[in-house]
Symmetry: C2
Amino acid sequence: MPKQVDHDERREAIARALWRVVEQRGVAHLTLREVAKEAGISHGALQHYFASREAMLSFAMDLAWEQKTLRVHRGFQALGDQPHPRDVLRVMLTEMLPLHTDARAASRISAAYVLEALHNENIHARARDDIAQGRVVFEQLIRQAIADGHISPTRDPVAETNLLLALTGFTTLLELDVVEPQDALTAIDQHLGRLFTTNDLGTGHEGAAVDDA
Amino acid sequence: MPKQVDHDERREAIARALWRVVEQRGVAHLTLREVAKEAGISHGALQHYFASREAMLSFAMDLAWEQKTLRVHRGFQALGDQPHPRDVLRVMLTEMLPLHTDARAASRISAAYVLEALHNENIHARARDDIAQGRVVFEQLIRQAIADGHISPTRDPVAETNLLLALTGFTTLLELDVVEPQDALTAIDQHLGRLFTTNDLGTGHEGAAVDDA
């Protein structure tokens, strides 16, 4: 189906143009007109692919989500065959933060998408579903880690999941250079280290390890 | 100086119109033209008060910041004469989240401001300074709480400050209805409860105490 492939490639090229507009000029410039100009095609040709700004933004968000998933899977591979659940959560969480160029572009698209969601019911529903699905994966991992004795059973899996997801608030601190990437990672490692402190289950030596992470 | 007062009142009325545009229609509609229309004045009259979109947005941000400060001070008054530092930090943190209408408007202006900062050096510098100053206050409170024995001296004040500020990531989870306000508060209280767990001051059981909060 070469035709379909061409179509998909064109859509992806347009999404990348959209990405550059957001990355370089900001969400205020995110219009069909500016994206067509950046992609080097006519406004009409762009509308052939995306009927509206909303459709265009949703596709860019899909692309950002896909690429984040790829980065997370690469991160998992680097952890080897039997990764510690703390390291799995660390990869999932840190790939949501603008700690390197690819993740930064995705993070900005995502921020634009969330702002758009506040005034657009369709986008709100989709953004909510995407994040709620991601949240379920985090909570399952935490529940499993509790069941496997990696996290104390006294921890509340719902609250711990919410706290981990809330740490995506590092995005703003990193984007504004209020916190350095290394300091964000240090703080996240201390948080995860404490979450995975199980010496109240009897070993008695993991408390000290918390800050070595 | 009645003239100055009129001028200030006019600026505030314009800022409120701007606020409504962001709140109801979104940051994509935040232009001098739309704000003039919402404020019921001409584009030229608006430019008498704000020469640019940037100046207008900065003023709205000042107003949001001022109102947040007022809410925080009201929160402090409710804590009485000798508030526990945990409760002080709780007020400061929760007033940054969109947990009620006023805070939601401020939070949206702030999100718009941060997105704008990514592509505007002046706004970036100001947003950075504002947040960095707030960060200093958080860190001072945490250092004092460690000195006063409310927080274990084994805690790293820099990392703990960064973690607390990062919890503003609840903003997105609340705005998208992924997490309910009560669940956000529960998670924040568990985090603060553990931070202020001090029975590890010599007992040698910090792991076990962590989860009692």
